[in-house]
Symmetry: C2
Subunit: 518 residues, 2 copies
């Protein structure tokens, strides 16, 4: 536990300045999280080895299907036992390959003050992505546009605990699907100077993202510094397809990290039991992690997963269930066993509105994630309806919840312990502390005061219009958007990015958009 962890972020001007800031929102990004909590480890060493052995057995004897000729050829060259499209991976080969994945690395943002470290105890919060609907500033559920996407990138930029602006937080339906990745990437880059994600919707799209990153950061810088993150979903059980593998190659060749994410619907595409499901997921993740090192030795890569359990009554994916928490604890143990940074999903909700269900699901997931010691904490804001919509109200509340979890994960501070005990002696039995100098000195940082939770009396709450959290959160979102200032982007780079997009949009047909391999 660091004694300095909870010191207020350095700002000029001291208490008076801090007070004057209260009328506008403090959107200064929190440094990348150093999670000081002990990890919740539900497996002893023997069980970790049991999972490892079962996964290696699966890789050797069942094999993994790579539906991609280039990958199959790569694997042959790497010495794997390839039979048709099924690759049998010897455990020695797997261990040798994953050994060169960096245990941690630093994401470089275009604003160096927003660089963040990932791996070990270093973690970052990244907003949700991929929603085909949003619940907007009026809580109306509809298809999103590029303007809506820009709004979420602005909110990401304004949220202190969010360390990334991600990519397609919502799907912008007002632009042809074949060209969408260009506008999405540009929106991430332009509306925030935090790190962001790169689209992997096709190998070609991934190449475009890499080219745009090269413009923003310089080609040489890109090759030597992680600046973005791709995600490659597996088709559980035990299949990786051409789209994802091609995108993976585009990223790894430029030395950019991808999340190797088996897509687990526990009980549907895994066994209906926690530990065997983790063993299968672990085998899947290892097979992709190993392949990143076939593509480029030493390239950063992240142990991924998307994880839900399936209702055995309805077949629907669920969120916030005890087994998801347990699997997070276990996957964290496996990733640390292999010395690879790992990704999880945060604040997932299956509710249709931002009701108490969404609150329980999200907070349960967030807590499990913090205790699991996850590094790349994706889907940290906005996710509801099993990812079918991103809610503006939930987005700002989740972002504040991440700030609260961040505070918890820093652990207690001890630097004022003696002064605190001296205050106990000063006050003595039956007194109160509100007027004490220690309280005056410490009240700003002592206890987190959530903006979006109402803790007033019911009388005051009624007097203020009986607003539930959704209404209050939407007011807060509007305030953030009013206060938003676009971070400066170098004019020449901006022009070069726009030229690139214009050229690629001439080259990519928009007409057959919906038929594009996506």
């Amino acid at each position: 536990m660091s004694d300095t962890a909870l010191k207020p972020r350095a700002r000029a001007g001291g208490r008076t300045a801090r007070r004057s800031l209260r009328s506008t929102t403090d959107s200064t990004m929190l440094p990348g999280l150093v999670n000081a909590l002990p990890r919740c480890e539900v497996m002893d060493e023997e069980k970790v080895h049991l999972i490892d052995a079962a996964s290696m057995d699966i890789l050797e004897n069942v094999g993994v299907v790579f539906r991609d000729d280039i990958a199959l050829a790569d694997w042959k060259r790497a010495g794997a036992d390839v039979r048709g499209d099924r690759v049998h991976l010897d455990r020695g080969l797997v261990r040798d390959l994953i050994a060169t994945i960096p245990a941690d690395f630093t994401y470089h943002a275009r604003n160096p003050a927003h660089n963040v470290r990932l791996g070990g105890r270093h973690a970052i919060f990244v907003p949700m992505t991929g929603a085909p609907y949003l619940r907007d500033l009026d809580d109306v559920r509809r298809n999103p546009t590029l303007d809506d996407l820009a709004m979420f990138h602005k909110l990401s930029h304004m949220s202190p605990a969010l360390h990334s602006s991600a990519h397609h937080i919502v799907e912008p339906y007002d632009h042809p699907i074949s060209q969408r990745h260009l506008r999405i990437t540009y929106s991430s880059m332009k509306h925030s100077d935090k790190t962001f994600m790169g689209m992997t919707t096709s190998p070609k799209n991934a190449e475009d993202v890499m080219d745009m990153c090269a413009i923003l950061f310089g080609e040489e810088f890109l090759e030597t510094h992680p600046v973005t993150t791709g995600n490659c979903n597996g088709n559980s059980p035990l299949v990786w397809d051409e789209t994802m593998l091609g995108a993976m190659r585009a990223f790894c060749r430029r030395n950019q990290p991808v999340l190797c994410s088996p897509f687990v619907l526990g009980g549907a595409n895994t066994p209906a039991s926690v530990a065997p499901a983790v063993a299968q997921l672990n085998a899947e993740a290892l097979s992709a992690l190993a392949y990143t090192q076939v593509i480029r030795r030493g390239c950063p890569a992240i142990y991924g997963h998307y994880l839900s359990t399936v209702s055995m009554r309805s077949g629907a994916p669920m969120a916030g269930t005890p087994e998801i928490s347990l699997m997070n604890f276990m996957i964290g143990q496996m990733a640390r066993f292999y010395g690879v940074p790992w990704r999880t999903s945060n604040t997932l909700g299956g509710a249709k509105t931002f009701d108490a269900q969404a609150g329980y699901e999200s907070a349960t997931t967030l807590s499990a994630v913090m205790h699991s010691g996850a590094n790349y904490i994706w889907h940290s804001a906005g996710w509801n309806e099993a990812g079918m919509h991103c809610s503006v109200a939930k987005f700002v509340v989740d972002a504040e919840q991440c700030a609260m979890a961040y505070r918890m994960a820093e652990g207690p501070r001890w630097d004022d312990f003696d002064e605190g005990i001296a205050a106990v002696k000063d006050i003595g039995p039956g007194g109160h502390y509100l007027g004490h100098s220690h309280t005056q000195e410490n009240f700003q940082r002592a206890f987190f005061m959530p903006e979006l939770f109402d803790n007033n009396s019911i009388e005051q709450w009624v007097a203020e219009g009986s607003q539930e959290i959704t209404a209050r959160a939407l007011t807060q979102a509007r305030k953030l958007l009013r206060e938003y200032e676009e971070p400066r982007l170098d004019a020449a780079k901006n022009e070069e990015l726009l030229d690139y997009i214009a050229r690629r949009e001439r080259e990519i047909p928009a007409a057959d958009a919906l038929n594009q391999e996506y």
Copy 2:
């Protein structure tokens, strides 16, 4: 982690019987929880000793006020340094006294199948108490009646993860306050055969509860078996008053456990800093725990606390904040350091309605509580509006959340690991598991399926009336109340209890009810 922890509860008839039960709710009580999760310990040994030393320093040099002549006389006899109403407690005396508090014990319910163990890894969930308002079956906020209290006792009885029916879950305003404790105790005893709490609203009231317990369990059994729990709140900082101390004596003399609960509003009646606040709370709890052993050596007692942090903006108590979680982790460490079972508060909400705020607050608290390793997990259902109301909707949802947390705390099961891995080999890449025999065998117990979370598509949700969780939960509460069957109470005992109440109600004047010391 027990390999058998997740085995389904034994029930006659196997799968067919279980299926046939699905139309009615399975209200079989879960056994007392054995929390297998590793504890979240945010202090190393040195820090635990630092808190201990600071607390002992406070007890020796600041002292604790006991506003009660009997307690002061008791303390003098016990060898404490008493100056006026302030008792200075030598650390040697404190350690000697608390050494005789049992590290764990068993609560005996009138139905022995509902006995539950407390202490070490053994924990129980107990509903909220003390609400002056309820949100009823129509979500209307109003003052409660004895019928409302009975309803909550019935819901407690019907909730598998609730191990107690508590006592005055809501305050029954339709009965004179001076006689209320009798009807409340009778309602707990009659509507459920789980363990329950005993009123400590005055020393006399506590004696009445003890007498009623003697009727229900027999005088001799009572003296040798914990059957109920009293709560004694401290007046932080460092004061215990006559009402609480008198009630404590009533319980301890009959060998019944009390919660020794400093009532902490962090920042208002403690220093505005986590670690010094814990040191003060720890000193307060120790002083009362020690006094229980002055009253009766070897009597069971529980390290208690009520804990909130105060908004330094509005002075309002807050729930679900990171500091409350941290304090829970730390208090758990201190209680284990002293080898005493400990109590915490669960699923607290400060929201005015059952909105997403209530969900986040409750789930955050529940998670922290599970990772802290708490034993007596009070306020586990219904609490909202900072305890000002008990919500029927929230009550049933919280109870289900406790069942989910219970499942998580059992950890993963390993007894079907080999079969699960065999299924992975059977299915192979690209298959699905829904039809596999392992899935068929395990689906009932594999993944928790919350009744009160809607995980259907939005289309289906709309077709079913677009109900948010509050409406669904109230429907579920009505269903539980329809299905409720009162557990049989021995007719002679019932009559004796009613006679006792009738006699005491003749003896206790109802007229000056509101002037009674309460």
